[in-house]
């Protein structure tokens, strides 16, 4: 029970996503009294992923978990597709090395995964209450002392804000920066059910192998973002991530229309033909990275996962779940240390920042702090996919008369100004 007898719990966790559940699991395993409050019917009910989780960075943090985890397919085929209006160019990466264990990434469905992780946390001794929305924080003398949920005051030594990208909890504690729409993207997707044999045949998969396909350019109607298809066991996750600024500031197509347009592309339509949509979901993604981050801890409070802004888009890898799991784990360790010293003030909890700084989490966010600004560059999604499409068309074309020499054909496209543009693009990319 609480250190001075006034708190009912060592920690109250707001939100049962990966960060909150990782914190609950880790703290409960160390014998702390943990209460996790989840507003959905079950953990996972409000959570959405595009589709894949990378295991390597978090494998050792949760050694018991991965063998039993309800993951979908291990990703053995990676594709990135540059879409122009009427053609597309695809690069595929696969082969023996992606078929070797341990697999680095898996497709995943959060409805299943989070529900399972919640059970594992409960098995360790965490108390999880679902259908419970946290409405406010209890703040006394500038210190967070607990939460108010359903009119009830619940007290703890530490509150962990794991309530996702909008984090009203961390916001109430004054830890977050104002919302700037250019730091956020929205992901929206369909689950399309298909027979496993059909999925395996269409995506060239052997057994439980999976494929990840990313699409940029006309896939999002030229807007900052990208389309995706991930293969699950008996369904596809098909959707896209588009910057809020790109959607709202250049209004021509509505978000759902862009998704329909993507599904109607012949390259995509044949993959989903005959499939039945089973669910349509959407989720906000904090893409601002290091520069958009607020404070990660305060007096009596820690911020984890999406709430802390731990999500990152660096082009072909778009990640968030590993950071959520790891930050939850480190928050739990910070609470353990703070409890030993009986110091839950900002300085007692500062160990959390130290643990994050030493880990892949903060190292990644510092290394890739320019990523969003580099990638949020309109020609990447309009001009360059079209240019590449035109070049391919001429390269492959056999006309009814004589074919033009290759070099003059290329020169036609790679004009001086194009060359300077590419050089500029190259210099941008060097910042990532």
């Amino acid at each position: 029970m609480g250190s001075q007898g006034e708190s009912s719990f060592d920690a109250i966790i707001v939100g049962g996503g990966l960060a909150g559940l990782a914190a609950a699991y880790t703290m409960a395993a160390e014998g702390l009294e943990v209460l996790l409050l989840e507003r959905g019917d079950y953990c996972g009910a409000k959570n959405v992923t595009g589709g894949r989780i990378y295991i390597n960075p978090v494998r050792e943090l949760f050694p018991e978990l991965w063998k039993k985890a309800p993951l979908e397919r291990h990703i053995a085929h990676e594709e990135v597709c540059l879409m122009s209006r009427k053609s597309s160019i695809t690069m595929r990466y696969d082969g023996a090395e992606l078929k070797e264990e341990p697999y680095q990434s898996y497709s995943v469905l959060r409805g299943k995964f989070d529900k399972w992780l919640a059970k594992e946390a409960e098995r360790k001794g965490a108390m999880i209450v679902t259908r419970s929305r946290v409405d406010d924080l209890i703040i006394e003398d500038g210190r967070v002392k607990g939460v108010i949920a359903g009119g009830e005051e619940l007290r703890a030594d530490v509150v962990i804000a794991a309530d996702g990208v909008l984090s009203f909890t961390a916001r109430k504690a004054g830890l977050l920066k104002d919302i700037a729409s250019n730091n956020y993207a929205v992901g929206f997707k369909e689950i399309i059910e298909l027979d496993p044999e059909v999925i395996e045949e269409r995506f060239n998969l052997e057994g439980n192998e999976g494929a990840a396909r990313l699409f940029m350019g006309d896939a999002t109607a030229g807007k900052f973002g990208g389309g995706f298809i991930y293969t699950n066991k008996t369904s596809l996750s098909l959707g896209m991530v588009v910057g809020i600024g790109a959607l709202a500031e250049n209004p021509d197509l509505k978000a759902p229309e862009i998704l329909d347009r993507f599904k109607e592309r012949p390259e995509v339509a044949r993959l989903i033909n005959g499939g039945e949509t089973a669910e349509y979901s959407a989720h906000l993604i904090p893409e601002g990275g290091f520069k958009a981050m607020g404070e990660l801890f305060g007096d009596g409070i820690l911020v984890v996962g999406d709430a802390a802004g731990f999500s990152m888009n660096i082009g072909v890898t778009v990640r968030g779940m590993e950071y959520a799991l790891a930050s939850g784990h480190y928050a739990a360790r910070a609470v353990s240390e703070a409890k030993q010293k009986n110091d839950f003030t900002r300085s007692g909890l500062a160990v959390y920042a130290g643990l994050l700084n030493e880990s892949f989490v903060m190292k990644d966010f510092i290394n890739f702090k320019e990523s969003l600004e580099v990638l949020d560059y309109p020609p990447l999604f309009t001009h360059y996919p079209e240019l590449a499409g035109s070049i391919m068309k001429d390269l492959y074309r056999v006309p009814d008369g004589p074919k033009e020499r290759i070099y003059p054909t290329m020169r036609k496209y790679l004009t001086m100004s194009e060359f300077w543009g590419l050089l500029k693009l190259g210099r941008r990319m060097m910042k990532i």
Binding site: A45, I244, I272, A282
Partner: protein
């Protein structure tokens, strides 16, 4: 065919549990605010539209609780909370 069910049809596939009051409210007097128009294009559930008076209106059917509208328009024009515990969309796949 998955292609032909339309947005309403897609939203109809989701599990929703109605709340007593809808959790998003356009602030009184802001109905014509230009910032609200951003949500018409950004909302993945297509809940925002402009009526004949030029007012932006929001439909309560099918909200996915992403918060996209809040980020796109800002809290000066929208009152935005999560639905109460156990209400709203309940993703089975996610």
């Amino acid at each position: 065919m998955s292609q032909s069910i339309g947005l309403k049809g897609k939203l109809g596939l989701n599990v929703f549990k109605e709340d007593r009051v809808f959790h998003i409210k356009i602030k009184t007097g802001c109905e014509k605010d230009a910032r609200l128009k951003r949500a018409i294009f950004a909302c993945p559930a297509g809940l925002y539209s402009e009526n004949d008076n030029g007012d932006v209106v929001v439909s309560s059917d099918g909200c996915l609780e992403c918060g996209c509208c809040l980020v796109a328009c800002g809290s000066e024009v929208l009152e935005w909370h999560y639905p109460s515990g156990g209400s709203g969309v309940q993703f089975r796949f996610g």
